[in-house]
């Protein structure tokens, strides 16, 4: 991995750490609460006599236990989902082509980018019907991640990213549109070139659109772009519905 690519991953890692910190904070606090409740229950039971007021206390303590354990279940689900998304999107040695629902990959990607998008960008899903597509899902998810991350970074302040999917003839089509700054026409032809960028290191570099294009083409697909400066850009990925390779 080049030095340039690292910054994008670092950005994602920082976001992911923050996303995990929230459920982790709840679990940590709850574990402490459970220990305290157990200590109190042991105290009450120590003299082997339980009176009326102690029964009231026990009821309250049991209720607290129920509450924190329910929250732990939610928190563990959140972390499990994040970890599953990492697995879906980072599979460096992916060698097998699999038949997958593209929507699942897009959702995993959105979950991983949650921290980058949350509270700033509205994500609109206009999902159509697409049959399962035979592809290298982890590589493809990295392409989606790059396109969505680019879209997010093209938007200064608040905005909208629309993800449209459909099948058209023999292709599955995924479009990612943003309400960002757009790409100047003189740059539009060069964005898929190696080494071309208008980004500063602060915003983080992705895989690069050239590598995205290579990944898509290796799977028999195409990537196209339309953009209007000041209105936004749309990247369209078309993938063959028939088996490739």
């Amino acid at each position: 991995m080049s030095e340039k690519q690292q910054t994008s991953v670092q950005l994602l890692m920082a976001g992911l750490a923050h996303e995990i910190n929230t459920p982790l904070g709840a679990i940590r606090s709850n574990r402490d609460v459970i220990q305290r409740v157990i200590a109190r229950l042991s105290d009450i039971l120590a003299d082997e006599v339980v009176d009326e007021s102690e029964i009231e206390q026990i009821r309250g303590l049991v209720k607290t236990l129920g509450e924190v354990i329910d929250i732990d279940a939610v928190a563990v689900d959140v972390i499990t989902g994040l970890v599953a998304s990492v697995r879906d999107c980072w599979h460096p040695d992916e060698t097998t082509c699999r038949c997958v629902d593209l929507h699942e990959g897009i959702e995993s990607t959105l979950l991983l980018l949650g921290h980058e998008l949350k509270h700033r960008i509205e994500v609109v899903r206009e999902y159509g019907e697409i049959p399962p597509v035979e592809c290298y899902p982890s590589q493809l998810n990295q392409v989606f991640m790059n396109l969505i991350l680019n879209a997010s970074q093209a938007i200064a302040g608040e905005g909208k990213i629309t993800i449209r999917t459909r099948s058209s003839g023999e292709d599955a089509i995924v479009e990612i549109s943003d309400t960002g700054s757009g790409i100047a026409s003189e740059n539009l032809e060069r964005i898929f070139d190696a080494g071309f960028t208008t980004k500063t290191t602060k915003s983080g570099m992705g895989l690069g659109l050239r590598i995205c294009k290579e990944i898509i083409e290796r799977q028999g697909g195409r990537i196209e772009v339309e953009s209007v400066v000041g209105e936004g850009s749309t990247f369209r990925v078309s993938l063959p519905l028939k088996t490739v390779e």
Partner: protein
């Protein structure tokens, strides 16, 4: 110190955080604990309620934690304001201290014993603030009484 029960208001868009904090505070303290996942609703709620300590998440929809605490400062200046954040971000910490008159900056994941001490001190601080406010009002009304007395005195003898 008065015998009134202190109120702790907690705002975080993640219910797992508000519930975890509430469960702990209700187990270990006798404070009244109010929790909200919407900063706007939390702000509305204090129109008719006294508040001693406000704990707010940094990243929230509608209003970020600093803007929320700033608005809270306008409405309930006596409440001690605590920012709870997943970021160890110096820039935002300084912004919060300056703009929202922050009392304390807590990081996620937090330690319950530490949180309890911070909240207890926050409650005491709010109570002192209230007492000071009452004394200032007393002084002001005493000053007004004296001024009135002085006027009457001048009118009677001059």
């Amino acid at each position: 110190m008065s015998d009134r029960v202190a109120t702790i208001l907690i705002v975080d868009d993640e219910e797992m955080v508000t519930t975890a904090l509430r469960s702990f505070l209700q187990l270990e303290t006798s404070y009244r604990v109010l929790t909200f996942t919407s900063p706007a609703q939390a702000l509305q709620s204090v129109d008719n309620e006294p508040v001693d300590v406000v704990i707010a998440d940094f990243m929230m929809p509608e209003l970020d934690g600093i803007a929320f605490l700033k608005a809270m400062r306008e409405k309930r200046p006596e409440a001690s304001r605590i920012l709870l954040t997943g970021y160890a971000d110096k820039e935002n910490a300084i912004r919060a201290i300056n703009e929202a008159g922050l009392y304390y900056y807590l990081e996620k994941p937090w330690d319950n014993d530490h949180l309890q001490v911070v909240v207890r001190n926050g409650v005491e601080r709010a109570e002192l603030f209230r007492q000071l406010d009452a004394k200032v009002s007393e002084l002001e009304s005493a000053h007004d009484d004296l001024a009135g007395f002085r006027k009457r005195l001048i009118r009677a003898f001059v």
